[in-house]
């Protein structure tokens, strides 16, 4: 078994430097790599390009990096709920590339799976397709989209083992599996690091081959963005 376990978030993030391109899992604040983000703030690395579906909120998630102006460019599908983000974008401090959510997921998967490019219908006829090759297949128009290139992918999983195998919970799964293996180095943090051999081999969402480093995360806040409930009758 090839061992991926490292002792802590500091060891896990070795090699992260200014100007790199990072992928970060999560949808809204669900399934975000909280420990890695906190350490990125600690390290103070800047000039980052971040590929992440959302940009967090003002005081949590990627919002923490935005506050410190560590991010040069965001590649996302939806960036509402973040005033500081909007301010930096409108003032031109922050470069923003908005792309369709399905295209974002697939550009990650393409990078992971060794596909340089693929045709997708999303965005055809819109400004998203400007400057891109378009092509007809079976009477419908498609846009050529390319695999991402990233230095690090930061992943948050529910459970994992020393072999790097990962299991996700609920909708905290989202982009995390698609980003595993999509960057040069994939770093997974888990709520529970279990002994190798205890996860059912049939029930592993991400085989360890897609993960280079794994560590036991700590102090998860798992903040809820929109707490919606109904009353018991």
């Amino acid at each position: 078994m090839i061992r991926k376990e490292v002792a802590n978030v500091q060891k896990a993030l070795q090699g992260v430097t200014n100007g790199q391109t990072l992928m970060l899992g999560g949808f809204g604040l669900s399934g975000i790599p909280e420990n890695a983000i906190a350490e990125l703030v600690q390290l103070g690395v800047s000039g980052l390009t971040c590929i992440s579906n959302n940009a967090g909120v003002d005081d949590f998630g990627l919002g923490l990096l935005l506050q410190k102006k560590q991010i040069k460019k965001m590649i996302s599908s939806y960036v509402g709920e973040n005033d500081e983000f909007e301010r930096q974008m409108l003032s031109g401090e922050l470069d923003v590339e908005l792309i369709p959510q399905g295209t974002l997921a697939e550009r990650c998967r393409a990078a992971k799976a060794g596909f340089p490019a693929f045709y997708t219908p999303a965005g055809y006829g819109t400004e998203v397709a400007e400057g891109k090759e378009t092509r007809e297949f079976n009477g419908k128009m498609y846009v050529l989209e390319h695999a991402f290139k990233a230095d690090f992918a930061f992943i948050k999983a529910w459970k994992g083992d020393a072999a790097g195998n990962l299991v996700f919970k609920g909708t905290a799964r989202n982009f995390n599996p698609n980003m595993c293996g999509a960057a040069e180095i994939t770093i997974a943090e888990v709520e529970e690091l279990v002994p190798a051999g205890t996860l059912d081999p049939n029930q592993i969402h991400i085989p360890g081959i897609f993960v280079q480093r794994i560590f036991q995360g700590v102090n998860y806040e798992k903040r809820i963005e929109q707490r919606t409930v109904r009353q018991k009758q």
């Binding site: 949808f27 809204g28 604040l29 669900s30 399934g31 579906n53 996302s76 599908s77 939806y78 960036v79 509402g80 709920e81 909007e86 974008m89 409108l90 923003v96 908005l98 369709p100 959510q101 399905g102 295209t103 974002l104 997921a105 697939e106 990650c108 998967r109 997708t120 219908p121 999303a122 965005g123 055809y124 006829g125 819109t126 400004e127 998203v128 529910w158 996700f168 919970k169 609920g170 909708t171 905290a172 799964r173 989202n174 982009f175 995390n176 599996p177 698609n178 969402h205 798992k222 903040r223 809820i224 963005e225 929109q226 707490r227 919606t228 409930v229 109904r230 009353q231 018991k232």
Partner: protein, 218 residues
């Protein structure tokens, strides 16, 4: 009388058929789930990775790991499943989801839709909307017929950056139900007590009125 948001949701709920997998956008579309007939089998998909969504959780039972695309805490029903984002959009792009209901800022008479950006003002992003409108066979737009300034949202051409081209099939507003056909917006139903003249006045794009237009049955 023009419908309120609940009224629009109730009318759209009648478009949801037995055996449909349905993706609901944020806002009015989310309300549709509350009014679907109880004697038909329907499953709601959310693009962040869940199929078989149920109602909101009871207070104290919220789980940060179980949310919908609007980031709201939700529950799941028996038969539900969770999956990654690429798989979620495989469902959408691959036409496995039968109906998409979403909001819009503008719809054009050729079926174009704009709902993700107001240049210089509002740039939240398209989220999954571009994938949804480019792929869905059956797209219903839920929106108010006019904007807050009273201007029509059913236009000859969209003025805002597009989300998708020629994709909208049906529109349900506070005033009317309309189908997008090659010639423009064909009026199918009027909101209770709303006249065809009122609808004409609120519609900038080409409105097609063939014969007597019935009132909605909500």
């Amino acid at each position: 009388m023009a419908l309120d948001k609940t009224g629009i949701a109730k009318r759209i709920a009648k478009e949801v058929k037995d055996g449909y997998y349905v993706n609901l956008g944020i806002g009015i579309p989310t309300l549709v789930a509350n009014y679907v007939r109880e004697d038909i089998d329907v499953e709601f998909q959310s693009e962040n990775g869940v199929l078989g969504m149920g109602p909101f959780p009871f207070e104290g039972e919220e789980d940060a790991d179980i949310i919908n695309a609007g980031k709201q805490t939700i529950t799941t029903l028996p038969g539900a499943s969770f999956f990654d984002s690429a798989t979620s959009f495989a469902m959408i792009r691959g036409k496995h989801v039968q109906l998409t209901i979403l909001g819009a800022m503008e719809v054009a008479e050729n079926g174009d839709i704009a709902n993700w950006k107001i240049p210089g003002k509002m740039v939240k992003g398209m989220g999954g909307a571009m994938d949804l409108v480019a792929s869905a066979e059956n797209i219903i737009v839920a929106m108010m017929h006019t904007n807050r300034a009273g201007a029509s949202k059913l236009l000859k051409r969209c003025s805002l950056p597009l989300t998708g081209v020629g994709c909208v099939k049906k529109i349900v507003t506070n005033l009317a139900v309309l189908e997008v056909i090659p010639d423009g917006f064909m009026l199918l139903e009027r909101a209770p007590g709303v006249s065809t003249e009122e609808i004409e006045a609120a519609t900038e794009g080409n409105l097609i009125i063939n014969g007597e237009i019935p009132e909605m049955d909500i």
